[in-house]
């Protein structure tokens, strides 16, 4: 599953890239083109966010992309159809990122079945702690999909070990407090936090929230396995268009 793929990729490169798009923003055609340029730019893994009207863990940039996608008539069915098409057309693994209500409304088992049929490899559901996620965990296990869990700087060592028990694929480490899309200070404090994460799990570690430049990615080499670039690609897209996103992502990593 994902863990083996990530470990194999790490044989080739000392830092992997995961990027993020909001499906249907600014349009479904643009989403297709964005994935194409990101895969061409060499990303190893992608998050496809299904828009939700109340994305409480996202900052203003991703929040507005969610709202505009919905305003243009984005639906769960249309998003999952596009996800299936992308999984078929590109050789990298894709994950769903969304909030729990979309799964809950459809029926968790049914939603997970749709993800499996679409060829998706896992999911990140930021408002579903394992305590509330029993049905989700069972469904994901039987579909052989990876539930990705999140560590934060406020997570105790004890809780990290509990989350590790449920996590598959990799662990998503949130770099700092706050929502998506602000800057992060890559300091000694971050190193201490990552050491705590590393001590709690042997799964690959991804670091997200505030990774915006090649210097940020360079700073993570040797500390985590995956750098997650989210809001910044949306900013580049809004300012300079789809093609600029390709060169921005390619430039994040010296080859």
């Amino acid at each position: 599953m994902l863990t083996d793929y990530l470990r194999n990729q790490r044989q080739e490169r000392d830092i992997l890239l995961m990027t993020h798009i909001v499906l249907g923003y600014p349009s479904f055609d643009a989403s297709r083109r964005l994935v194409e340029v990101m895969v061409e730019a060499g990303v190893e893994l992608m998050e496809l966010q299904l828009p939700f009207s109340e994305p409480i863990a996202d900052g203003p940039v991703i929040l507005r992309a969610n709202q505009q996608s919905l305003a243009h008539g984005s639906t769960v069915d249309r998003c999952l159809e596009l996800a299936a098409e992308l999984s078929r057309d590109y050789p990298i693994p894709f994950l769903v990122m969304s909030y729990y209500n979309l799964l809950f409304r459809r029926g968790v088992a049914r939603f997970v079945g749709r993800m499996e049929a679409a060829g998706l490899k896992g999911a990140i559901v930021p408002d579903l702690p394992p305590e509330e996620g029993e049905e989700y965990l069972v469904s994901m296990r039987s579909a052989k999909l990876d539930p990705i869990f999140i560590f934060s700087p406020n997570t105790s060592a004890e809780r990290m070990r509990m989350l590790h028990q449920h996590a598959r694929g990799f662990v998503y480490c949130v770099a700092r407090r706050g929502v998506t899309g602000s800057q992060t200070d890559f300091t000694a404090e971050l190193d201490r936090y990552l050491a705590r994460c590393r001590a709690a799990t042997d799964l690959p570690l991804a670091l997200g929230f505030g990774v915006q430049s090649r210097a940020d990615v360079d700073a993570l080499r040797g500390k985590v396995d995956i750098a997650v670039v989210g809001s910044e690609t949306l900013r580049v897209l809004d300012a300079r268009g789809v093609e600029a996103v390709g060169s921005f992502v390619a430039g994040l990593r010296a080859s």
Partner: protein, 410 residues
């Protein structure tokens, strides 16, 4: 996350990982306070000398004669400091903030009553304060914005989403995940992730404790029915708490019927069949949402009832049939407000007037020996702009025009 805070199938704590530790700390502070017998005494003393508690229970004699049925008693939360029941929860959470050693508070507000109450508490306790308010609500509740700013709060107008209460809640959560070390989020209603529904109900239960004692003192009997409006559900949980154990007392929650349930332009989650169970803003309850789980626009003349979700405790009390839910339309609300002002000299808030509507529909059919209690959760002066528009008051319009011209001439 030791306790998950379920009421039947509703409630829970669907938290982003970054907030789990903060909620654990909040829950521990609350449980320690609740177990300390001096805490409730301190709270009652504070509410007694700062906020006019106990608030009166007023016999509405003229309305009673007008309808010719059960005797109508009104619980006067409008006389609480800052003009609504909101202060009960806010001052209580302020005491918890002091216990936790934090120095900044944030809050969401719809009608502005909770924002004014929080800004007042922050001024009294010396906390910094930021209030999140949907841009639509800022426009319709300007007098409350004025007072929040005078009280020293920063008021942030939220322009995302539907620009109402739910969007203000989302924005407050975004602030909290950044500033949880210094900041407490004073959620204003009996909704949200555990332990908020329990904490808010605990402080608001002071309303029901007083009302039960007062109605027994004044009439020698328990009420046949108790009416409360339901937005998030805090004033309803407050007054209902006093009577939950009295099986003979029927509890009636009145939601915002907006333009009428059949138009689907309303905010009735429990009284209509338009809502369904979902998980958003950290808890599981009935939401007005579409088949995909996206929240829908809601509508009410009363900003404080204009919300997509509802207290998980009330959702469960509907399931167990302990509380009956009804809806009142915008038009009915303005008429009930008008009648109450003329007959009793009481000015209920538009929110509270929903409870009056349902009581007025029912009291005439009850015998005169029966008693009903209506919770007047807040005062209506804040609604002067909305009410003046509803009455198409020409003299008021002329006054506003003159005022505008005077400002322009400056």
């Amino acid at each position: 996350m030791k306790e998950r805070g379920y009421f039947g199938p509703f409630g829970g704590a669907y938290l982003p990982e970054i907030l789990v530790g903060t909620f654990d700390e909040f829950e521990a502070a609350f449980e320690a306070a609740r177990a300390d017998p001096s805490f409730w005494r301190d709270y009652e003393a504070l509410m007694g000398n700062y906020s006019c508690r106990p608030t009166p229970l007023t016999y509405a004699e003229n309305l009673t004669h007008h309808f010719g049925g059960a005797r109508i008693y009104v619980k006067r939360e409008d006389l609480n400091h800052t003009g609504a029941h909101k202060a009960n929860n806010v001052m209580g959470q302020g005491l918890l903030v002091r216990r936790m050693g934090k120095h900044r508070v944030i809050a969401e507000t719809g009608a502005g009553q909770h924002g004014v109450a929080t800004a007042t508490m922050a001024a009294k306790f010396g906390f910094e304060c930021t209030i999140y308010m949907g841009a639509v609500d800022v426009a319709r509740q300007r007098p409350n914005v004025f007072w929040m700013e005078r009280l020293g709060a920063q008021v942030v107008s939220v322009t995302d989403g539907s620009q109402t209460l739910k969007d203000a809640i989302n924005e407050a959560f975004r602030d909290w995940v950044t500033n949880m070390d210094t900041t407490h989020y004073v959620l204003g209603t009996a909704c949200g992730p555990h332990p908020f529904p329990t904490v808010v109900t605990y402080f608001q239960s002071i309303v029901g404790q007083e009302a039960r004692r007062q109605v027994l003192d004044q009439t020698g009997r328990l009420p046949r029915r108790v009416y409360a409006c339901v937005g998030g559900g805090s004033n309803a949980m407050g007054i209902f708490s006093g009577f939950l154990a009295d099986q003979g007392v029927e509890l009636v929650g009145v939601e915002a019927g907006g333009h009428g349930l059949e138009t689907h332009r309303h905010a009735a989650r429990l009284a209509s069949s338009d809502a369904s169970v979902g998980v958003a803003q950290g808890y599981r309850t009935y939401f007005l949402q579409d088949d995909d789980g996206q929240m829908r626009e809601t509508h009410s003349v009363a900003a404080g009832l204009d919300y997509v979700g509802v207290s998980p405790i009330l959702a469960n009390l509907r399931e167990t049939r302990r509380v009956r839910f009804e809806a009142a339309t915008d038009r009915e609300v303005v008429d009930a407000l008008s009648l109450t002002v003329q007959k009793e000299g009481l000015i209920p808030a538009l929110e509270s007037s929903h409870a009056f509507v349902q009581a007025f529909k029912e009291v005439g059919k009850l015998p005169p020996e029966d008693v009903v209690v209506i919770n007047q959760s807040g005062r209506g002066d804040k609604d002067i702009f909305t009410v003046a528009d509803a009455f198409e008051d020409q003299a008021w319009q002329a006054f506003i025009q003159q005022k505008a011209e005077a400002y322009r001439a400056h």
